[in-house]
């Protein structure tokens, strides 16, 4: 044999040995360990979830000698987190035992067969009766079974810097009644208080569902009944004026430079910047944003800001032209679910219950500034006193909308993100972007669409 022929042979043998060795290093089989996958904030200073999970892990390991909790943080923007979690759940080798799922994706993952139903377990769990019906529905699939336990929800509205508004000659208790009021205020601020960003509306593909729900749908749901999906006809809506109007609003904000610089607006980390830079540093006048922002400014937050309760005001997001009920909000939230291929579902369920003892549920909702989904938590004094404005955002629950909980929703959301980005950069007019959305929607919904 020539000496050169030897090299590939050795290499091949080495590779075989290596790959065979890799095969048995899978960790799926350990009966005493629960692998918990969750999304860690991309801001390294934000560690509420990690802290909370660490503490429950310690409690749990103390109460269950010999059992181990392995936290698997995935530090990524939400879109990438979901992709990673889905890939993990595809195989028994990598599937976690417990996974944190955004309610807007859970139906899609249920349909894909990644999750196992929890009904039998829920039936014998007395805390389940404490959950409010809308929250229970969040993780219920088309087959009527429930696949996840929600740990809180959220609402959305307008946050504003009272000082900047006063300097622009606007009232400190500003309450816009329609879209025009918001744009007028933003234009006034732009003219009278130079150097600040008048209004932030999250937009674009990179920001993902945060932009679609918090930016676009907060507008869209103010344009009429069921503007995205008609549940009675089971059809998605194409060609609506409301859709174009909402895009036109976004176009106005960025076209007239009432918002942040477009390149900042399209940065995937813009929502963190709003909370930790622009608002606390007085660079942003009005933010269309979520109920949880206060979590960033507390003593353990990413950006300590003791003055925020007096510095910021809150207003409900109005409908397009003041039509009833005059206010609009959207709600989401996250749930804990057990993957179908989990190696250790029993123990995972025990850990889930440990996270949802009344004391831990309160602690979590307070730490993460969640709106409670359990009546016992909602009544808890610690929760009610946890954050200024929590009563305001809890009050928005009566006006809130939930996104169509359907398996294709994440794809619809992605298409909306593209339409938003196209009008934000000015690549398309609202009309063109809406038309291209309609085309995508027909494919995604496989023809289940209705024109309006």
């Amino acid at each position: 044999m020539r000496p050169t022929a030897l090299a590939p042979l050795i290499l091949a043998t080495a590779l075989t040995a290596g790959s065979l060795a890799a095969c048995d290093s899978g960790s799926g089989g350990d009966r005493d360990t629960v692998k918990v996958a969750y999304n860690r904030s991309t801001d390294n200073k934000v560690r509420f979830k990690d802290d909370f999970l660490e503490s429950v892990k310690r409690q749990f390991e103390q109460d269950h000698p010999g059992k181990k909790i392995k936290l698997v943080p995935i530090q990524a923007p939400d879109n990438d987190y979901a992709t990673k979690a889905q890939q993990m759940m595809r195989s028994a080798k990598t599937a976690p035992d417990l996974v944190y799922e955004d309610t807007f994706r859970i139906n899609s993952d249920i349909k894909a067969g990644y999750l196992s139903p929890l009904d039998d377990r829920l039936a014998s769990w007395d805390s389940w009766s404490r959950f409010v019906p809308t929250a229970k529905a969040a993780a219920r699939a088309e087959d009527g079974k429930t696949y996840g336990v929600p740990d809180g929800t959220d609402t959305r509205g307008l946050w504003f810097n009272k000082q900047i508004l006063t300097r622009a000659g606007l009232p400190a208790d500003w309450q816009p009644r329609n879209w025009a009021d918001i744009l007028t205020a933003a234009r006034t601020i732009k003219a009278k208080v130079p150097g600040v960003i008048p209004l932030n509306v999250l937009t674009g593909k990179a920001v993902g569902e945060a932009a679609v729900m918090q930016g676009f749908e907060m507008l869209l749901y103010g344009t009429g009944e069921n503007p995205l999906y008609d549940p009675a006809a089971k059809k998605w809506i194409t060609g609506s004026q409301g859709f174009q109007d909402a895009l036109a609003f976004v176009r106005t904000v960025y076209g007239e430079k009432l918002g942040p610089d477009v390149s900042d607006a399209l940065d995937p980390n813009v929502n963190t910047r709003v909370a930790t830079e622009w608002l606390p540093e007085g660079k942003l006048a009005i933010a269309l944003d979520g109920s949880w922002l206060g979590q960033f400014w507390g003593p353990r937050g990413a950006k300590e800001w003791p003055q925020w309760p007096t510095a910021l005001g809150r207003a409900a997001m109005p409908t397009q032209d003041s039509r009833a009920p005059g206010r609009v909000s959207l709600s989401g939230g996250w749930t804990w679910a057990i993957p179908r291929k989990a190696g250790n579902p029993e123990l995972a369920w025990e850990f889930l219950k440990a996270m949802q003892t009344p004391a831990n549920a309160v602690r979590w909702d307070v730490a993460d500034a969640q709106i409670a989904v359990r009546d016992d938590v909602a009544k808890d004094p610690a929760y009610l006193k946890s954050m200024p404005g929590i009563d305001f955002f809890t009050g928005l629950v009566q006006y809130t909308h939930y996104r169509p909980a359907l398996p294709v929703y994440p794809q619809v959301s992605s298409a909306i993100g593209e339409a938003m980005e196209a009008v934000t950069t000015g690549d398309s007019s609202p009309r063109q972007a809406a038309r291209s959305y309609d085309e995508q929607l027909r494919t995604i919904a496989e023809g289940a669409v209705a024109a309006r």
Binding site: M1, A5, P8, L9, A12, T13, L15, T16, S19, N79, A82, T83, Q86, Q87, R105, S108, D109, K111, A112, G113, Y114, G204, K205, A206, D261, V262, S263, L266, P268, P407, V408, P410, Q411, S414, E421, A422, T425, D427
Partner: protein
């Protein structure tokens, strides 16, 4: 030749491995590209024939990605890395030893850096408050929002910055192979520098040019991390090359089948380039 089964024996493990780890996944990919497999949202997978391919050709996003991929490849690989690599290699032959070592180290350092690290470095260089604009500002030159205004140019430059070392090494080796006496003879005959380059150097390293172009192009066609970290294919779709488009469809839109079909089409683009280069190399002097 008579078949001697024994002779195949040493090759068997390698053949097996190739089938298992190379042909296997490729075959699986080809199969996926003919199905409607999704990452989430549907449990069943069914055969859909050429639907994914038809969809790609009708998709303006795909056509946009093909065009951007060609622009990116031509700009960064064929024009940028290739010419710059040759120029560096030629200049370094004449340079003094310290200059040669320093240049070589710098260029190769960029090559050795992990892609994602290079991507973040260049992101920091090109971003609005980045180094490049700071320098331009200091020189009183107009600044630009590079990643937003000229994303393809920015990522192409990044790819040149990162990948030139490879061309430089290939060309250094090729130039060293040219017999000294041929160059000297040409010099004695009075051939000028450009003429020597055109009539002697380039023809003599033609095979290296072909190899280099082919490897460079294939590598550039599949660049993903660099673009993803710098621009995510944005703004809009203005720097969405095929690999980024594929990722977007397969993983963000969950359309594994469609994404894989796009990946196969990318393979086809690479194959086309390769055929051209192979022909270039085959022509005799």
């Amino acid at each position: 030749m008579r078949a001697r089964p024994v002779r195949w024996l040493p090759l068997a493990p390698a053949t097996l491995l190739l089938l298992l780890f190379l042909a296997g996944p490729i075959g699986y990919c080809v199969w996926i590209s003919f199905t409607d497999m999704q990452l989430t949202g549907s449990s069943g997978t069914s055969f859909v024939g050429f639907a994914n391919f038809r969809r790609a050709f009708a998709d303006p996003g795909f056509r946009n990605a093909v065009w951007l991929t060609v622009v990116f490849t031509v700009l960064s690989s064929i024009v940028g890395q290739n010419t710059l690599g040759l120029a560096l290699a030629a200049l370094m032959r004449r340079a003094s030893r310290p200059v040669r070592t320093l240049t070589g180290t710098l260029v190769i350092a960029a090559w050795v850096l992990p892609e994602i690290v290079a991507a973040f470095l260049l992101y920091a260089f090109f971003r609005r408050e980045g180094t490049l604009n700071a320098i331009l500002h200091w020189l009183h030159l107009p600044t630009q929002n590079w990643l937003f205004g000229l994303p393809v140019l920015a990522v192409s430059f990044a790819n040149v910055w990162r990948g030139t070392a490879f061309s430089m090494l290939i060309y250094s080796a090729a130039l060293a192979e040219i017999p000294q006496e041929i160059t000297e003879a040409a010099e004695v005959d009075g051939a000028s520098g450009p003429r020597r380059l055109w009539h002697i150097t380039l023809p003599m390293i033609r095979r290296s040019i072909g190899t280099n172009l082919m490897l460079n192009t294939l590598q550039t066609l599949s660049v993903f991390g660099l673009i993803w970290a710098m621009t995510r294919g944005g703004p809009g779709r203005r720097s969405q090359t095929l690999p980024v488009f594929m990722y977007d469809q397969a993983f963000l839109k969950s359309l594994l089948g469609y994404g894989t079909a796009v990946a196969l089409l990318l393979l086809l683009v690479g194959a086309l380039f390769s055929v051209v280069y192979l022909r270039l190399m085959r022509v005799e002097v």
